[in-house]
Protein backbone atom coordinates (compact mmCIF):
# COMPACT_ATOMS: atom_id res chain seq x y z
CA UNK A 1 0.00 0.00 0.00
CA UNK A 2 1.08 3.58 -0.46
CA UNK A 3 2.56 5.28 2.58
CA UNK A 4 1.25 8.38 4.31
CA UNK A 5 4.90 9.41 4.47
CA UNK A 6 4.90 11.47 1.31
CA UNK A 7 7.93 13.36 0.01
CA UNK A 8 6.33 16.54 1.33
CA UNK A 9 5.93 15.27 4.90
CA UNK A 10 9.52 14.04 4.95
CA UNK A 11 10.76 17.32 3.51
CA UNK A 12 9.07 19.32 6.27
CA UNK A 13 10.33 16.84 8.88
CA UNK A 14 13.96 17.02 7.72
CA UNK A 15 13.97 20.71 6.76
CA UNK A 16 11.38 22.35 9.01
CA UNK A 17 10.24 25.83 8.00
CA UNK A 18 9.79 28.43 10.74
CA UNK A 19 11.42 26.36 13.44
CA UNK A 20 12.88 28.36 16.31
CA UNK A 21 11.66 31.00 18.73
CA UNK A 22 10.59 34.64 18.73
CA UNK A 23 11.79 37.33 21.12
CA UNK A 24 8.45 39.08 21.72
CA UNK A 25 5.53 36.81 20.86
CA UNK A 26 2.07 38.00 21.88
CA UNK A 27 0.68 34.52 21.48
CA UNK A 28 2.49 31.54 22.91
CA UNK A 29 1.44 28.02 23.91
CA UNK A 30 2.82 24.51 24.13
CA UNK A 31 1.50 21.04 24.73
CA UNK A 32 2.60 17.45 24.55
CA UNK A 33 1.08 14.17 23.56
CA UNK A 34 1.79 11.89 26.53
CA UNK A 35 1.19 8.77 24.48
CA UNK A 36 3.88 9.52 21.90
CA UNK A 37 5.96 12.08 23.75
CA UNK A 38 5.51 14.60 20.94
CA UNK A 39 6.08 18.18 22.08
CA UNK A 40 5.06 21.29 20.12
CA UNK A 41 5.42 24.95 21.05
CA UNK A 42 3.95 27.77 18.92
CA UNK A 43 4.81 31.47 19.04
CA UNK A 44 3.07 34.23 17.08
CA UNK A 45 4.01 37.87 16.71
CA UNK A 46 1.18 40.19 15.65
CA UNK A 47 1.17 43.61 14.06
CA UNK A 48 -1.14 46.47 15.04
CA UNK A 49 -3.95 45.07 12.85
CA UNK A 50 -3.84 41.73 14.66
CA UNK A 51 -2.26 40.07 11.64
CA UNK A 52 0.35 37.37 12.13
CA UNK A 53 3.62 39.09 11.32
CA UNK A 54 5.89 36.24 12.29
CA UNK A 55 5.47 32.72 13.59
CA UNK A 56 7.80 30.03 14.89
CA UNK A 57 7.37 26.55 16.24
CA UNK A 58 9.61 24.38 18.33
CA UNK A 59 9.36 20.80 19.38
CA UNK A 60 10.35 17.23 19.00
CA UNK A 61 8.60 14.06 18.09
CA UNK A 62 7.42 12.06 15.13
CA UNK A 63 7.46 13.20 11.51
CA UNK A 64 3.70 13.70 11.45
CA UNK A 65 3.62 16.02 14.47
CA UNK A 66 6.66 18.05 13.45
CA UNK A 67 5.82 18.34 9.75
CA UNK A 68 2.24 19.36 10.49
CA UNK A 69 3.47 22.02 12.93
CA UNK A 70 5.81 23.42 10.31
CA UNK A 71 3.11 23.39 7.63
CA UNK A 72 0.72 25.11 9.99
CA UNK A 73 3.15 27.99 10.58
CA UNK A 74 3.16 28.67 6.84
CA UNK A 75 -0.62 28.58 6.79
CA UNK A 76 -1.07 31.17 9.55
CA UNK A 77 1.54 33.66 8.41
CA UNK A 78 -0.20 36.83 7.16
CA UNK A 79 -3.61 35.78 8.47
CA UNK A 80 -5.59 37.79 11.02
CA UNK A 81 -6.13 36.29 14.46
CA UNK A 82 -9.78 35.85 13.55
CA UNK A 83 -8.86 33.85 10.44
CA UNK A 84 -6.38 31.75 12.44
CA UNK A 85 -9.21 30.91 14.82
CA UNK A 86 -11.23 29.57 11.91
CA UNK A 87 -8.59 27.04 10.77
CA UNK A 88 -10.19 23.62 11.00
CA UNK A 89 -8.99 20.07 11.52
CA UNK A 90 -9.77 19.40 7.88
CA UNK A 91 -7.50 22.25 6.78
CA UNK A 92 -4.57 20.66 8.60
CA UNK A 93 -5.35 17.14 7.43
CA UNK A 94 -5.55 18.26 3.81
CA UNK A 95 -2.04 19.69 4.16
CA UNK A 96 -0.80 16.32 5.36
CA UNK A 97 -2.80 14.24 2.93
CA UNK A 98 -3.40 10.51 3.27
CA UNK A 99 -5.35 8.46 5.78
CA UNK A 100 -4.33 8.59 9.42
CA UNK A 101 -5.38 6.18 12.15
CA UNK A 102 -7.11 7.59 15.25
CA UNK A 103 -3.93 7.47 17.33
CA UNK A 104 -1.82 9.21 14.70
CA UNK A 105 -4.52 11.85 14.21
CA UNK A 106 -3.51 13.13 17.65
CA UNK A 107 0.04 13.64 16.35
CA UNK A 108 -1.22 15.46 13.26
CA UNK A 109 -3.51 17.80 15.22
CA UNK A 110 -1.25 18.55 18.19
CA UNK A 111 0.08 21.74 16.60
CA UNK A 112 -3.42 22.98 15.78
CA UNK A 113 -4.47 22.34 19.37
CA UNK A 114 -1.48 24.33 20.61
CA UNK A 115 -2.14 27.15 18.15
CA UNK A 116 -5.80 27.40 19.13
CA UNK A 117 -4.98 27.27 22.84
CA UNK A 118 -2.68 30.24 22.33
CA UNK A 119 -5.21 32.17 20.25
CA UNK A 120 -8.06 31.58 22.68
CA UNK A 121 -5.93 32.62 25.62
CA UNK A 122 -5.13 35.80 23.69
CA UNK A 123 -8.69 36.71 22.80
CA UNK A 124 -10.30 35.31 25.96
CA UNK A 125 -11.52 31.76 26.31
CA UNK A 126 -15.11 30.53 26.54
CA UNK A 127 -16.65 27.17 27.32
CA UNK A 128 -17.44 26.64 23.65
CA UNK A 129 -13.80 27.07 22.70
CA UNK A 130 -12.68 24.69 25.43
CA UNK A 131 -15.02 22.13 24.00
CA UNK A 132 -13.51 22.63 20.57
CA UNK A 133 -10.01 22.13 21.98
CA UNK A 134 -10.93 18.92 23.77
CA UNK A 135 -12.16 17.60 20.43
CA UNK A 136 -8.69 17.93 18.92
Amino acid sequence: MSSIYSEIILDYYRYPRNKGSLSHPQIQASDSNPLCGDIVEMQLELDEKNTVKDVKFNGQGCAISQASASMLTELVKGKTVDDVRKISKEDVLSLIGGQLTAVRLKCALLSLKVLKTGVYNYIGSTDATNEELSGL
Partner: protein, 489 residues
Amino acid sequence: MSRQRWAAASNSTSQKATSPAAAATASYRKARNKQPGPAVPKNTTPTTKPPLTFPGQFAQSTVRGYATQKQATTYIHEKKPYDVEKIRNDFPILKRIINGKPLAYLDSAATTQKPQDVIDELTRFYNEYNANVHRGVYKISEEATAAYEEARAKIARLINANSPNEIIFVRGTTEAINLVAQSWGRTNIGLGDGIILTEMEHHSNIVPWQLLAKERGAHLKYVGLTDDGHLVHEDFRQHLESGGIKLVTMTHVSNVLGTINPVREYIREAHKQGCPVLVDAAQSVPHMPVDVQDLDCDFLAFSGHKVCGPTGIGILYAKKSILQAMPPFHGGGEMIREVHLYESTWKDPPYKFEAGTTNIAGAIGLGKAVDYVSGLGLRNIQEHEQELTEYAHDRLGKVKGIRIYGPENPRTKSGVISFNMGDVHAHDMATLLDEDGIAVRSGHHCAQPLMERLGVSSTTRASVYVYNTEDEIDRLAESLERAGRIFKL
Protein backbone atom coordinates in the same frame (compact mmCIF):
# COMPACT_ATOMS: atom_id res chain seq x y z
CA MET B 1 16.94 -26.92 11.92
CA SER B 2 16.07 -28.47 15.24
CA ARG B 3 12.57 -27.00 15.07
CA GLN B 4 11.79 -28.91 11.89
CA ARG B 5 12.96 -32.06 13.54
CA TRP B 6 10.57 -31.44 16.39
CA ALA B 7 7.81 -30.66 13.95
CA ALA B 8 8.30 -34.02 12.26
CA ALA B 9 8.36 -35.78 15.61
CA SER B 10 5.12 -34.13 16.59
CA ASN B 11 3.17 -35.89 13.86
CA SER B 12 4.11 -39.29 15.10
CA THR B 13 3.81 -38.72 18.84
CA SER B 14 0.50 -36.89 18.68
CA GLN B 15 -1.14 -40.12 17.52
CA LYS B 16 -0.06 -42.06 20.56
CA ALA B 17 -2.57 -42.33 23.37
CA THR B 18 0.22 -43.00 25.80
CA SER B 19 1.75 -39.53 25.77
CA PRO B 20 2.56 -38.23 29.27
CA ALA B 21 -0.37 -35.81 29.05
CA ALA B 22 -2.87 -38.47 28.07
CA ALA B 23 -1.60 -40.89 30.69
CA ALA B 24 -1.72 -38.19 33.33
CA THR B 25 -5.27 -37.23 32.43
CA ALA B 26 -6.40 -40.84 32.44
CA SER B 27 -4.94 -41.63 35.85
CA TYR B 28 -6.24 -38.32 37.18
CA ARG B 29 -9.75 -39.20 36.03
CA LYS B 30 -9.49 -42.58 37.61
CA ALA B 31 -8.37 -41.06 40.89
CA ARG B 32 -11.04 -38.42 40.70
CA ASN B 33 -13.87 -40.91 40.41
CA LYS B 34 -12.84 -42.31 43.77
CA GLN B 35 -13.14 -38.89 45.40
CA PRO B 36 -16.26 -38.16 47.41
CA GLY B 37 -18.45 -35.60 45.67
CA PRO B 38 -20.59 -35.44 42.56
CA ALA B 39 -20.26 -38.30 40.11
CA VAL B 40 -18.71 -37.62 36.73
CA PRO B 41 -21.48 -37.32 34.10
CA LYS B 42 -21.13 -40.25 31.70
CA ASN B 43 -22.34 -38.67 28.49
CA THR B 44 -19.90 -35.77 28.31
CA THR B 45 -16.38 -35.72 27.01
CA PRO B 46 -13.56 -34.47 29.21
CA THR B 47 -13.15 -31.33 27.11
CA THR B 48 -16.72 -30.10 27.61
CA LYS B 49 -17.28 -30.48 31.31
CA PRO B 50 -15.89 -28.41 34.15
CA PRO B 51 -13.32 -30.12 36.34
CA LEU B 52 -15.13 -31.60 39.33
CA THR B 53 -12.54 -30.80 41.95
CA PHE B 54 -12.72 -28.68 45.04
CA PRO B 55 -10.55 -26.38 47.16
CA GLY B 56 -8.15 -28.32 49.26
CA GLN B 57 -8.36 -31.37 47.04
CA PHE B 58 -4.96 -30.65 45.57
CA ALA B 59 -2.94 -32.40 48.16
CA GLN B 60 0.48 -32.84 46.64
CA SER B 61 0.02 -36.55 46.13
CA THR B 62 -3.02 -36.27 43.87
CA VAL B 63 -2.09 -33.51 41.43
CA ARG B 64 -3.43 -34.65 38.08
CA GLY B 65 -2.19 -38.17 38.54
CA TYR B 66 1.39 -37.18 39.22
CA ALA B 67 2.99 -38.61 42.32
CA THR B 68 4.17 -35.17 43.34
CA GLN B 69 3.59 -31.61 42.25
CA LYS B 70 7.27 -31.42 41.35
CA GLN B 71 6.63 -34.08 38.69
CA ALA B 72 3.67 -32.10 37.36
CA THR B 73 5.83 -29.00 37.13
CA THR B 74 8.60 -30.98 35.46
CA TYR B 75 6.13 -32.14 32.81
CA ILE B 76 4.98 -28.54 32.24
CA HIS B 77 8.54 -27.28 31.92
CA GLU B 78 10.08 -30.13 29.91
CA LYS B 79 10.85 -30.31 26.20
CA LYS B 80 8.18 -31.77 23.89
CA PRO B 81 7.59 -31.83 20.13
CA TYR B 82 6.97 -28.36 18.70
CA ASP B 83 5.20 -27.47 15.45
CA VAL B 84 4.74 -23.75 14.94
CA GLU B 85 2.37 -24.11 11.98
CA LYS B 86 0.08 -26.32 14.05
CA ILE B 87 0.28 -23.82 16.91
CA ARG B 88 -0.66 -20.94 14.61
CA ASN B 89 -3.90 -22.74 13.77
CA ASP B 90 -4.86 -22.56 17.44
CA PHE B 91 -4.98 -18.74 17.27
CA PRO B 92 -7.90 -17.53 15.14
CA ILE B 93 -6.72 -13.91 15.11
CA LEU B 94 -3.61 -14.87 13.14
CA LYS B 95 -5.83 -15.44 10.10
CA ARG B 96 -6.64 -11.74 9.90
CA ILE B 97 -5.55 -9.70 6.90
CA ILE B 98 -4.31 -6.21 7.77
CA ASN B 99 -3.82 -3.69 4.97
CA GLY B 100 -3.89 -6.51 2.46
CA LYS B 101 -1.28 -8.64 4.25
CA PRO B 102 -1.52 -11.42 6.84
CA LEU B 103 -1.22 -10.05 10.36
CA ALA B 104 2.33 -10.43 11.66
CA TYR B 105 1.78 -9.98 15.38
CA LEU B 106 5.05 -8.94 17.02
CA ASP B 107 3.73 -7.29 20.17
CA SER B 108 3.32 -10.20 22.57
CA ALA B 109 5.33 -8.44 25.28
CA ALA B 110 2.35 -6.06 25.49
CA THR B 111 -0.27 -8.80 25.34
CA THR B 112 -0.35 -12.23 23.76
CA GLN B 113 -3.02 -13.53 21.43
CA LYS B 114 -5.50 -16.09 22.74
CA PRO B 115 -5.84 -19.70 21.59
CA GLN B 116 -9.28 -21.02 20.65
CA ASP B 117 -9.33 -23.18 23.82
CA VAL B 118 -9.22 -20.10 26.04
CA ILE B 119 -11.83 -18.22 24.00
CA ASP B 120 -14.10 -21.29 24.08
CA GLU B 121 -13.72 -21.79 27.81
CA LEU B 122 -14.81 -18.21 28.51
CA THR B 123 -17.93 -18.73 26.38
CA ARG B 124 -18.59 -22.10 27.97
CA PHE B 125 -18.35 -20.62 31.46
CA TYR B 126 -20.96 -17.99 30.66
CA ASN B 127 -23.13 -20.42 28.69
CA GLU B 128 -23.03 -23.37 31.04
CA TYR B 129 -21.86 -22.74 34.60
CA ASN B 130 -21.80 -19.02 35.31
CA ALA B 131 -22.37 -18.55 39.06
CA ASN B 132 -20.61 -16.91 41.95
CA VAL B 133 -17.95 -19.01 43.61
CA HIS B 134 -17.60 -20.38 47.15
CA ARG B 135 -21.13 -19.37 48.14
CA GLY B 136 -23.79 -21.24 46.22
CA VAL B 137 -24.67 -24.75 47.29
CA TYR B 138 -26.29 -25.48 43.95
CA LYS B 139 -24.80 -27.44 41.06
CA ILE B 140 -23.49 -24.72 38.78
CA SER B 141 -21.99 -22.72 41.64
CA GLU B 142 -20.10 -25.82 42.70
CA GLU B 143 -18.92 -26.28 39.13
CA ALA B 144 -17.77 -22.66 38.95
CA THR B 145 -15.97 -22.99 42.31
CA ALA B 146 -14.30 -26.19 41.18
CA ALA B 147 -13.09 -24.62 37.94
CA TYR B 148 -11.89 -21.50 39.76
CA GLU B 149 -9.90 -23.50 42.31
CA GLU B 150 -8.64 -25.87 39.64
CA ALA B 151 -7.24 -22.80 37.85
CA ARG B 152 -5.45 -21.78 41.05
CA ALA B 153 -3.93 -25.24 41.33
CA LYS B 154 -2.83 -25.17 37.68
CA ILE B 155 -1.01 -21.91 38.30
CA ALA B 156 0.64 -23.35 41.42
CA ARG B 157 1.92 -26.22 39.27
CA LEU B 158 3.09 -23.87 36.51
CA ILE B 159 5.42 -21.99 38.85
CA ASN B 160 5.92 -24.87 41.33
CA ALA B 161 4.41 -23.07 44.30
CA ASN B 162 4.37 -25.13 47.45
CA SER B 163 0.58 -24.91 47.62
CA PRO B 164 -2.34 -23.37 45.68
CA ASN B 165 -2.96 -21.30 48.82
CA GLU B 166 0.09 -19.25 47.89
CA ILE B 167 -1.62 -18.13 44.67
CA ILE B 168 -3.75 -14.97 44.85
CA PHE B 169 -5.92 -13.87 41.97
CA VAL B 170 -5.52 -10.17 41.21
CA ARG B 171 -6.15 -7.98 38.16
CA GLY B 172 -2.62 -8.14 36.85
CA THR B 173 1.02 -7.54 37.68
CA THR B 174 0.29 -3.92 38.57
CA GLU B 175 -2.32 -4.84 41.16
CA ALA B 176 -0.12 -7.61 42.53
CA ILE B 177 2.72 -5.15 43.17
CA ASN B 178 0.36 -2.56 44.64
CA LEU B 179 -1.05 -5.23 46.94
CA VAL B 180 2.42 -5.99 48.28
CA ALA B 181 3.29 -2.30 48.61
CA GLN B 182 0.08 -1.43 50.43
CA SER B 183 -0.31 -4.49 52.62
CA TRP B 184 3.18 -5.82 53.29
CA GLY B 185 4.94 -2.51 52.63
CA ARG B 186 2.92 -0.37 55.01
CA THR B 187 3.45 -2.93 57.75
CA ASN B 188 7.14 -3.56 57.22
CA ILE B 189 8.64 -0.40 55.76
CA GLY B 190 9.11 2.68 57.89
CA LEU B 191 11.00 5.93 58.27
CA GLY B 192 14.50 5.79 56.81
CA ASP B 193 14.14 2.27 55.40
CA GLY B 194 15.41 1.49 51.92
CA ILE B 195 13.95 -0.33 48.92
CA ILE B 196 16.22 -1.54 46.12
CA LEU B 197 14.92 -1.35 42.54
CA THR B 198 16.63 -1.37 39.15
CA GLU B 199 16.75 1.22 36.39
CA MET B 200 15.06 -1.21 33.99
CA GLU B 201 11.79 -1.50 35.92
CA HIS B 202 8.41 -1.04 34.32
CA HIS B 203 6.45 1.89 35.79
CA SER B 204 4.31 -0.68 37.62
CA ASN B 205 7.34 -1.65 39.69
CA ILE B 206 8.41 1.94 40.36
CA VAL B 207 5.35 4.04 41.08
CA PRO B 208 3.81 1.86 43.85
CA TRP B 209 7.16 2.09 45.69
CA GLN B 210 7.39 5.85 45.17
CA LEU B 211 3.92 6.20 46.72
CA LEU B 212 4.90 3.97 49.64
CA ALA B 213 8.27 5.66 50.16
CA LYS B 214 6.64 9.09 50.23
CA GLU B 215 4.03 7.94 52.73
CA ARG B 216 6.44 6.12 55.03
CA GLY B 217 9.50 8.34 54.70
CA ALA B 218 11.48 5.53 53.10
CA HIS B 219 13.90 5.89 50.20
CA LEU B 220 14.47 4.14 46.87
CA LYS B 221 17.86 2.92 45.68
CA TYR B 222 18.40 1.98 42.04
CA VAL B 223 20.73 -0.61 40.57
CA GLY B 224 22.22 0.95 37.44
CA LEU B 225 22.71 -0.58 34.00
CA THR B 226 25.69 -1.27 31.80
CA ASP B 227 25.60 0.13 28.27
CA ASP B 228 24.48 -3.23 26.91
CA GLY B 229 21.56 -3.42 29.31
CA HIS B 230 22.77 -5.64 32.15
CA LEU B 231 22.47 -4.82 35.84
CA VAL B 232 25.55 -3.43 37.57
CA HIS B 233 26.02 -6.08 40.23
CA GLU B 234 28.33 -3.88 42.25
CA ASP B 235 25.54 -1.28 42.70
CA PHE B 236 23.33 -3.97 44.14
CA ARG B 237 25.97 -5.15 46.59
CA GLN B 238 26.71 -1.61 47.74
CA HIS B 239 23.04 -0.80 48.27
CA LEU B 240 22.49 -4.03 50.20
CA GLU B 241 25.49 -3.42 52.41
CA SER B 242 24.50 0.19 53.08
CA GLY B 243 21.99 -1.18 55.61
CA GLY B 244 18.34 -0.48 56.32
CA ILE B 245 17.19 -2.24 53.14
CA LYS B 246 13.81 -3.83 53.75
CA LEU B 247 12.93 -5.04 50.26
CA VAL B 248 14.47 -5.78 46.87
CA THR B 249 12.05 -5.54 43.97
CA MET B 250 13.20 -6.30 40.44
CA THR B 251 12.09 -7.51 37.08
CA HIS B 252 13.04 -11.01 35.97
CA VAL B 253 13.11 -10.03 32.29
CA SER B 254 13.21 -6.46 30.93
CA ASN B 255 10.13 -5.57 28.88
CA VAL B 256 12.24 -3.23 26.77
CA LEU B 257 15.64 -4.89 26.38
CA GLY B 258 14.78 -8.53 26.96
CA THR B 259 17.65 -8.82 29.46
CA ILE B 260 17.25 -11.89 31.66
CA ASN B 261 18.36 -10.85 35.13
CA PRO B 262 20.17 -13.29 37.45
CA VAL B 263 17.37 -13.02 40.01
CA ARG B 264 18.24 -16.31 41.70
CA GLU B 265 21.71 -15.02 42.57
CA TYR B 266 20.36 -11.64 43.70
CA ILE B 267 17.77 -13.36 45.90
CA ARG B 268 20.50 -15.44 47.58
CA GLU B 269 22.47 -12.30 48.35
CA ALA B 270 19.44 -10.38 49.61
CA HIS B 271 18.40 -13.26 51.84
CA LYS B 272 21.86 -13.30 53.42
CA GLN B 273 21.02 -9.82 54.66
CA GLY B 274 17.55 -10.97 55.74
CA CYS B 275 15.92 -8.96 53.01
CA PRO B 276 12.89 -10.32 51.08
CA VAL B 277 12.66 -10.09 47.29
CA LEU B 278 9.77 -9.40 44.91
CA VAL B 279 10.17 -10.60 41.32
CA ASP B 280 8.21 -8.96 38.52
CA ALA B 281 7.75 -12.01 36.33
CA ALA B 282 5.36 -10.49 33.78
CA GLN B 283 7.90 -11.09 31.01
CA SER B 284 9.33 -14.38 32.28
CA VAL B 285 6.55 -16.74 33.39
CA PRO B 286 5.00 -16.82 29.88
CA HIS B 287 8.33 -17.46 28.19
CA MET B 288 10.47 -19.81 30.27
CA PRO B 289 10.27 -22.32 33.11
CA VAL B 290 9.98 -20.39 36.36
CA ASP B 291 10.17 -22.27 39.64
CA VAL B 292 9.43 -20.13 42.68
CA GLN B 293 10.84 -22.69 45.09
CA ASP B 294 14.10 -22.86 43.16
CA LEU B 295 14.31 -19.07 42.92
CA ASP B 296 13.27 -18.84 46.57
CA CYS B 297 11.62 -15.48 45.85
CA ASP B 298 9.30 -14.13 48.53
CA PHE B 299 6.84 -12.51 46.10
CA LEU B 300 6.32 -13.05 42.39
CA ALA B 301 3.84 -11.23 40.16
CA PHE B 302 2.63 -11.83 36.61
CA SER B 303 -0.28 -11.10 34.29
CA GLY B 304 -2.67 -13.57 32.71
CA HIS B 305 -3.04 -11.71 29.43
CA LYS B 306 0.67 -12.05 28.66
CA VAL B 307 0.46 -15.84 28.89
CA CYS B 308 -2.45 -16.46 26.48
CA GLY B 309 -5.08 -15.71 29.15
CA PRO B 310 -7.78 -13.04 29.33
CA THR B 311 -7.13 -9.45 30.42
CA GLY B 312 -8.02 -8.37 33.94
CA ILE B 313 -6.59 -11.42 35.69
CA GLY B 314 -3.14 -11.84 37.16
CA ILE B 315 -1.30 -13.58 39.91
CA LEU B 316 0.50 -12.70 43.07
CA TYR B 317 2.53 -15.54 44.50
CA ALA B 318 3.90 -15.15 48.01
CA LYS B 319 5.31 -17.55 50.56
CA LYS B 320 2.67 -18.88 52.93
CA SER B 321 4.28 -17.52 56.11
CA ILE B 322 4.45 -14.04 54.61
CA LEU B 323 0.83 -14.11 53.44
CA GLN B 324 -0.34 -15.22 56.86
CA ALA B 325 1.36 -12.27 58.53
CA MET B 326 0.15 -9.69 56.00
CA PRO B 327 -2.96 -7.59 56.71
CA PRO B 328 -5.73 -7.59 54.07
CA PHE B 329 -5.44 -5.30 51.04
CA HIS B 330 -9.11 -4.72 50.20
CA GLY B 331 -11.91 -5.25 52.71
CA GLY B 332 -15.29 -6.64 51.76
CA GLY B 333 -17.19 -9.83 51.17
CA GLU B 334 -15.49 -13.20 50.64
CA MET B 335 -12.35 -12.28 52.58
CA ILE B 336 -13.90 -12.39 56.07
CA ARG B 337 -14.41 -15.10 58.61
CA GLU B 338 -16.74 -13.09 60.86
CA VAL B 339 -17.97 -9.53 60.68
CA HIS B 340 -19.25 -7.62 63.69
CA LEU B 341 -20.20 -3.99 63.92
CA TYR B 342 -16.80 -2.78 65.01
CA GLU B 343 -14.39 -5.51 64.10
CA SER B 344 -13.94 -8.47 61.81
CA THR B 345 -11.70 -11.48 61.40
CA TRP B 346 -10.17 -12.67 58.16
CA LYS B 347 -10.15 -15.87 56.20
CA ASP B 348 -6.83 -17.61 55.64
CA PRO B 349 -4.80 -16.79 52.54
CA PRO B 350 -5.41 -16.69 49.64
CA TYR B 351 -9.04 -15.71 50.37
CA LYS B 352 -7.98 -12.97 52.77
CA PHE B 353 -6.73 -11.10 49.69
CA GLU B 354 -9.65 -11.78 47.35
CA ALA B 355 -12.35 -9.39 48.54
CA GLY B 356 -15.59 -9.15 46.61
CA THR B 357 -16.49 -11.13 43.53
CA THR B 358 -13.26 -11.68 41.67
CA ASN B 359 -12.76 -12.11 37.94
CA ILE B 360 -14.07 -15.68 37.91
CA ALA B 361 -14.25 -16.07 34.14
CA GLY B 362 -10.78 -14.56 33.86
CA ALA B 363 -9.33 -17.00 36.38
CA ILE B 364 -10.92 -19.97 34.62
CA GLY B 365 -9.71 -18.65 31.25
CA LEU B 366 -6.21 -18.27 32.69
CA GLY B 367 -6.38 -21.86 33.91
CA LYS B 368 -7.12 -22.91 30.34
CA ALA B 369 -4.24 -20.75 29.09
CA VAL B 370 -1.90 -22.44 31.56
CA ASP B 371 -3.08 -25.81 30.19
CA TYR B 372 -2.25 -24.54 26.72
CA VAL B 373 1.29 -23.34 27.41
CA SER B 374 1.93 -26.36 29.64
CA GLY B 375 0.96 -28.57 26.71
CA LEU B 376 3.50 -26.79 24.50
CA GLY B 377 6.11 -27.00 27.25
CA LEU B 378 7.85 -23.97 28.72
CA ARG B 379 11.31 -25.25 27.76
CA ASN B 380 10.08 -25.56 24.17
CA ILE B 381 8.61 -22.08 24.17
CA GLN B 382 11.89 -20.70 25.46
CA GLU B 383 13.89 -22.56 22.82
CA HIS B 384 11.55 -21.50 20.01
CA GLU B 385 11.83 -17.86 21.08
CA GLN B 386 15.58 -18.21 21.47
CA GLU B 387 15.95 -19.38 17.87
CA LEU B 388 13.72 -16.57 16.62
CA THR B 389 15.61 -13.98 18.64
CA GLU B 390 18.95 -15.16 17.29
CA TYR B 391 17.52 -15.11 13.78
CA ALA B 392 16.09 -11.62 14.34
CA HIS B 393 19.37 -10.22 15.69
CA ASP B 394 21.15 -11.62 12.68
CA ARG B 395 18.57 -10.53 10.10
CA LEU B 396 17.67 -7.12 11.54
CA GLY B 397 21.31 -6.38 12.30
CA LYS B 398 21.89 -6.23 8.53
CA VAL B 399 19.30 -3.50 8.02
CA LYS B 400 20.96 -0.18 7.21
CA GLY B 401 20.87 2.42 10.00
CA ILE B 402 19.41 0.15 12.69
CA ARG B 403 20.48 0.24 16.30
CA ILE B 404 19.33 -2.59 18.58
CA TYR B 405 19.34 -1.82 22.32
CA GLY B 406 20.22 -4.18 25.14
CA PRO B 407 22.33 -7.33 25.25
CA GLU B 408 24.31 -7.91 22.07
CA ASN B 409 24.34 -11.63 22.59
CA PRO B 410 20.82 -12.87 21.83
CA ARG B 411 21.51 -15.93 23.99
CA THR B 412 21.46 -13.79 27.13
CA LYS B 413 18.03 -12.30 26.48
CA SER B 414 14.43 -13.18 25.79
CA GLY B 415 12.45 -12.49 22.63
CA VAL B 416 12.17 -8.72 22.97
CA ILE B 417 14.00 -6.58 20.40
CA SER B 418 14.02 -2.80 20.86
CA PHE B 419 15.54 -0.66 18.16
CA ASN B 420 15.67 2.68 16.37
CA MET B 421 16.60 3.43 12.79
CA GLY B 422 18.31 6.64 11.70
CA ASP B 423 16.15 9.64 12.57
CA VAL B 424 12.90 7.74 12.07
CA HIS B 425 10.74 8.29 15.15
CA ALA B 426 9.42 5.08 16.73
CA HIS B 427 5.81 6.08 16.09
CA ASP B 428 6.47 6.73 12.44
CA MET B 429 8.19 3.35 12.27
CA ALA B 430 5.20 1.60 13.84
CA THR B 431 2.86 3.28 11.35
CA LEU B 432 5.09 2.27 8.44
CA LEU B 433 5.20 -1.34 9.66
CA ASP B 434 1.42 -1.34 10.17
CA GLU B 435 1.07 -0.41 6.51
CA ASP B 436 2.65 -3.84 5.87
CA GLY B 437 0.40 -5.65 8.36
CA ILE B 438 3.10 -5.85 11.05
CA ALA B 439 2.09 -5.05 14.64
CA VAL B 440 4.89 -3.73 16.87
CA ARG B 441 5.05 -1.45 19.88
CA SER B 442 6.51 2.05 19.85
CA GLY B 443 7.08 4.58 22.60
CA HIS B 444 8.62 4.49 26.04
CA HIS B 445 7.12 1.06 26.95
CA CYS B 446 6.16 2.30 30.42
CA ALA B 447 9.86 2.51 31.28
CA GLN B 448 10.78 6.19 31.09
CA PRO B 449 13.76 5.94 33.48
CA LEU B 450 15.21 3.26 31.19
CA MET B 451 14.60 5.47 28.13
CA GLU B 452 16.53 8.22 29.91
CA ARG B 453 19.36 5.79 30.61
CA LEU B 454 19.44 4.80 26.93
CA GLY B 455 19.33 8.48 25.96
CA VAL B 456 16.31 8.10 23.70
CA SER B 457 12.73 9.33 23.88
CA SER B 458 11.29 6.13 22.48
CA THR B 459 12.08 2.88 20.72
CA THR B 460 10.29 0.50 18.40
CA ARG B 461 9.89 -2.92 19.96
CA ALA B 462 9.23 -6.25 18.30
CA SER B 463 8.53 -9.18 20.62
CA VAL B 464 7.91 -12.82 19.80
CA TYR B 465 5.88 -15.64 21.25
CA VAL B 466 4.88 -19.24 20.59
CA TYR B 467 3.22 -18.51 17.24
CA ASN B 468 5.84 -16.33 15.53
CA THR B 469 7.94 -17.54 12.62
CA GLU B 470 11.19 -16.73 10.84
CA ASP B 471 9.05 -15.70 7.89
CA GLU B 472 7.53 -12.94 10.02
CA ILE B 473 11.01 -11.76 11.03
CA ASP B 474 11.89 -11.63 7.31
CA ARG B 475 8.80 -9.55 6.67
CA LEU B 476 9.77 -7.22 9.51
CA ALA B 477 13.26 -6.80 8.08
CA GLU B 478 11.91 -6.15 4.56
CA SER B 479 9.44 -3.60 5.90
CA LEU B 480 12.23 -1.87 7.82
CA GLU B 481 14.23 -1.71 4.60
CA ARG B 482 11.21 -0.14 2.89
CA ALA B 483 10.98 2.40 5.74
CA GLY B 484 14.66 3.15 5.22
CA ARG B 485 14.02 3.82 1.52
CA ILE B 486 11.05 6.09 2.26
CA PHE B 487 13.07 8.06 4.81
CA LYS B 488 16.11 7.98 2.49
CA LEU B 489 18.45 6.62 5.18
